[in-house]
Structure formats: C-alpha cells, structure tokens
C-alpha cells in the first residue's frame, strides 16, 4: 500500500497572481482520509497560505464543495482511497463560479438567485397566534420532504452545463427550493415565485441534462423538481390564457 499521495491544488492569490496555477503537494496516504483531511494536512503542516472553505466534515454544512479530478464533490465526502490508483488528485474550485482565492469561490450570484425564489413559507392566510400552529400531515410533508435536504453546497451549479453557458440561469438548487415551498401545503406563495421560476432564466433555461441530480450529495434531485415546475408553469399558463376569466 502506498504511503503518500500527490495532490495538485489550483492556487490563485489575487495580490500577486495574474491567473490561477497548479501547485503540487505530497501528503500522507491514509485509507480513512478524505480529500478535506489532505487539505487540512497541507494547511497545518506544509503551506498555511492555502485557502478553502469547510466546517462540519460530515456532509451537512455544504461548505467544502470542490472539483475533485474534474467532478464536483464535497471534499469531506471524497475518500483518498477512491483516487489511490490515479497518479494524483487534482483539486480545483467549483466550476462556473469566479475564484476569490485558491479554492474559495465567489457565491454572491447564487445568494441573489436564492433570495429571488423566496425560499420560505408564505402563509396562505395569516392567522393570529391564538389560533395555533399551521398543521401539516405526514403525507403532506412527504410530497416535498426530499427537496428540504438541500444544503446549498452548489455542486449542482458546477455540474450544470446550462449554468456554464448562461450565468443568469436561476439554476438547480434555487429552483428545487422554489418547488419545495410551492409544494408545501401551508404555502401560498407560488404566484410570487412564478416571476422568477417561469421566467426565461427560470425553469425554461433547463435542458434536462440531469447532471445536477447525479452529483447531488443529498439525493435532492433538482432535475426532477425543475421538470415538474415546467409542467406546472405550462398548466398555469393555459389556465390563465385559454380558460374563460383565466386572466382575472
């Protein structure tokens, strides 16, 4: 068994670099290490200037998404042993996002897209506290529960070819969350979200490549959510334009 493994990391320091470049590090190889452990080893013992985001180390916080040998992955969820047959492990920042520094991306565009779909329950009817909580049954929860698992790790944005071609596309995670709230029995905000969801940069920009669902570490299946919203948006359009009084 090997004792060491070579890690290639894309480095970019805006103060001195005109463009990113790869830097090679040799780190100990451990069967139970994930790529994030290798990065932490570099940071702690070899090169303290390396920048990257991470927090929980257990695929919950969604901070440590990176391109690992060309595939978007959570670095805390990618074991070195799965790359031990390769000459090296190549680590880059997530595709389709500007690089702030080293492996840190600029995610401002996503934050704007996320807030544009109003990802929160907009109550159908506000009621006073005295009337108690908004009740929901387990079958009603089951309809959208899968979409609540999103951790905003942005792997789906790095995998989506449409994001690569049109950076204004609202994208998989934000649209999946819009679907999650549209399906919620307590919610009445579907019309408010439609301005974003059914716009040219919304669901219609998606060509169902399906890569978002393939790379999702939480099995959210954003591609399914977007296709379902296309059908829903089409039905709403026909209702509004073809039914008598539909525009009212």
């Amino acid at each position: 068994m090997r004792n060491e493994i070579t890690v290639e990391v894309l480095r970019y320091h805006p103060e001195k670099d005109s463009e990113p470049h790869f830097q090679l590090y040799t780190v100990p190889y451990r069967e139970d290490w994930v790529v994030l452990d290798a990065l932490n080893h570099i940071k702690d013992h070899i090169d303290g200037t390396l920048s990257y985001r991470w927090s929980c180390h257990m695929a919950v916080c969604g901070s440590c998404g990176m391109m690992i040998n060309g595939e978007p992955k959570l670095s805390c969820n990618a074991f070195l042993r799965d790359y031990c047959k390769e000459a090296s492990v190549r680590i880059e920042p997530l595709e389709h996002f500007p690089i702030e520094r080293d492996l840190v991306i600029v995610m401002d565009s996503f934050m704007k897209k996320l807030s544009s779909v109003k990802p929160y329950v907009i109550a159908k009817e506000e009621k006073p506290l005295s009337e108690g909580q908004y009740v929901q049954t387990p079958p009603q929860l089951q309809i959208f529960k899968q979409y609540t698992q999103c951790i905003n790790c942005l792997l789906c944005y790095a995998a989506c070819p449409q994001i690569g071609l049109n950076r204004d596309f609202v994208g998989p995670a934000a649209l999946a969350l819009a679907h999650r709230y549209n399906l919620d029995s307590r919610d009445g905000g579907k019309e408010q979200r439609a301005d974003t969801v059914a716009s040219n940069e919304g669901v219609w920009e998606c060509t169902f490549a399906g890569a978002c669902s393939e790379v999702c570490p939480k099995d959210v299946d954003p591609a399914a959510a977007i296709q379902q919203m296309k059908i829903s948006a089409s039905v709403d359009w026909f209702k509004a334009h073809l039914l008598p009084g539909g525009n009212k």
């Binding site: 805006p14 500007p98 070819p161 490549a209 669902s213 591609a223 296709q227 059908i231």
Partner: protein, 128 residues
C-alpha cells in the same frame, strides 16, 4: 485590500470532458434528425397535394437507397430520443395514488404501452 475575483473562461469542448455530457449532447443531437424527418413528412404532404406524378416521384425517392438509409438513421435517433426520454418520465411526472408513490417502472412501462398502442393504431389505419 481590494478584491480581484478570477473568472475562468468556458471550455469550447466542455461536453467531451465526461461521458454524462457526451450522452446528453447525443440526446440533444437527436432533435436535429427528428426535425429533418418531420421536414420529410411535410414534403410528402406537399407532393401529395400537388398530384399523382409528384407523389409517385416522392415515393420513389423515399424508397431509393439514400432515402431508406436516411430514414433508418432518423429511426435510430428517434429510438434513442424516445428511450432516454421515457427513462426520465418518472422524474417529470411522479404520481401518487392513494397516498403511495407509483413506482418509476410502472410510469415508464405505461409510456411504452401507450407508444405500442398508438403505433398499432397508426399501422392498422395505414393497412385499411
């Protein structure tokens, strides 16, 4: 300290980087051949409206070797398009019956059944 984010240029041949994108691009390419076949059918209708000699010359062209090869290529792409689309239908059209989700295989199977039924109706109508 001022920020200077670096924007990477997109790669022209990005879709060759992973097999999932290659299959996706092939699926997108199928639309071209389905469009060409629709154009062929439309041309057939136009020739039919023009009269018997025009229609017969159209049939002769469609039955020639290049005509048959073209239609076989279109058929291959149409089958690829249909099979990959049917495989995705459980995502786009999930069904819940009596509180239980319908298995994906049943949704895909229903599409194949409808396809066979419609094909039979068309073949029988053509026979009559």
């Amino acid at each position: 300290m001022s920020r200077r984010p670096y924007v990477r240029a997109g790669k022209r041949l990005w879709w060759l980087g992973h097999r999932r994108y290659v299959f996706y691009m092939v699926r997108e390419l199928t639309s071209l051949f389905i469009g060409l076949y629709c154009a062929l059918l439309t041309l057939g209708l136009v020739r039919l409206a023009q009269g018997k000699p025009q229609w017969e010359s159209f049939l002769a062209a469609a039955s020639s070797v290049p005509g048959v090869v073209f239609q076989l290529v279109c058929l291959a792409f149409a089958v690829y398009h249909s099979v990959t689309w049917f495989a995705l239908t459980p995502k786009a059209m999930p069904l819940i019956v009596r509180g239980e989700p319908v298995p994906g295989n049943a949704i895909v199977g229903a599409h194949y059944a409808a396809w066979i039924l419609v094909s039979l109706v068309v073949l029988v109508a053509a026979w009559i």
